[in-house]
Amino acid sequence: MEGDIVQMGAYIGAGLACLGMGGAGIGVGHVAGNYLAGALRNPAAAPGQTAFLFIGIAFAEALGIFSFLVALLLMFAV
């Protein structure tokens, strides 16, 4: 009984942790959208900034992956 409650809590926690991925999605979209807006304003400067685009996406995405990892840990390791 007690174990079931713990498992339920873990699964609920895992589901809640997945909300963090939405934040990462917003972040990645923000980075990519601003890059596109800037690139359309000044297309000549765009190719030099693609590295920063990917670095920004990587940083934003990392946090989503952390939340995914928390969800996985709750489901499989707790």
Binding site: F54, I55, A58, A62, I65, F66, F76
Partner: protein
């Protein structure tokens, strides 16, 4: 957890298991496992692309040689752009990291294969080696002035200690995020693909819906595999730049 919902037997984490290849249950340090096999495949792929592809030394390149040259120039230019000209002497190291991560990611997409980079042990060793190299290199090249990396001169004086603390924390979080980003991205994609494939098996006649989803996911995963290798490499370059030029 699989037993809880009866017929639906999805075990998304099974594919990440390290198993001995030639019998036995224990995984000792020198045991030949699927890790060994797929790392050997990575070596093979690197050799095929970079050595066999370029063996012709043709002035007008063949397809294979052209790919090898493109890979070479891509990483070379990345290092030159991010770290400046003096980072070029680390080219073989960064190229090694890129080739290993890239081929591990891509080979891991083959069905029934094993993705070595989805394991935190592997990525953590890579990220820690980068972290330690950068830190040692920073102190060797710049002496104590490497610590000025954490002291933001352009900020108001009152804010500088707080910023230094934040910079210090973010510096030590680097290997964590560096390794978990790669392992997590690889693991997530493969686990989700497995879950969808399990749906296909469970749905019976409507199997084609999850199959389509898996196909789309697979294309996305291919993109992610390449981008994660790129990101791992470019972050290595960014960290290396801090060691070479610690002043903001």
């Amino acid at each position: 957890m699989a037993e809880a919902n009866g017929g639906l037997q999805i075990k998304p984490m099974d594919q990440f298991m390290v198993k001995p290849l030639f019998g036995g249950d224990t995984v000792g340090i020198f045991t030949i496992t699927n890790v060994t096999l797929w790392m050997a495949m990575t070596v093979l792929a690197v050799t095929l692309l970079m050595v066999v592809g370029a063996r012709g030394r043709a002035l007008v390149p063949t397809r294979g040689q052209s790919m090898a040259e493109l890979t070479y120039s891509f990483i070379y230019k990345m290092i030159e752009d991010v770290t400046g000209r003096d980072g070029v002497r680390f080219f073989p190291y960064i190229m090694t990291i890129f080739m290993f991560v890239f081929f591990s990611n891509v080979l891991g997409l083959i069905p029934w294969s094993f993705t070595t980079t989805s394991h935190i042990a592997v990525t953590a060793v890579l990220a820690l080696s980068v972290f330690i190299t950068v830190t040692v290199l920073g102190f060797v090249l710049n002496g104590a002035s490497f610590l000025r990396l954490f002291w933001v001169d352009s900020a108001p004086l009152a804010l500088r200690p707080i910023l230094a603390l934040i910079e210090l924390i973010s510096y030590f979080v680097r290997p964590v995020s560096h390794s978990i980003r790669l392992a997590g991205a690889m693991m997530a994609g493969h686990a989700v693909a497995k879950v969808f494939a399990g749906f296909a098996a469970a749905l019976g006649a409507a199997f084609f819906i999850p199959i389509l989803a898996v196909t789309a996911l697979y294309a996305l995963e291919l993109l992610v595999a390449v981008i994660q290798a790129y990101v791992f490499t470019i972050l290595t370059c960014v960290y290396l730049k801090d060691a070479l030029h610690p002043h903001h």
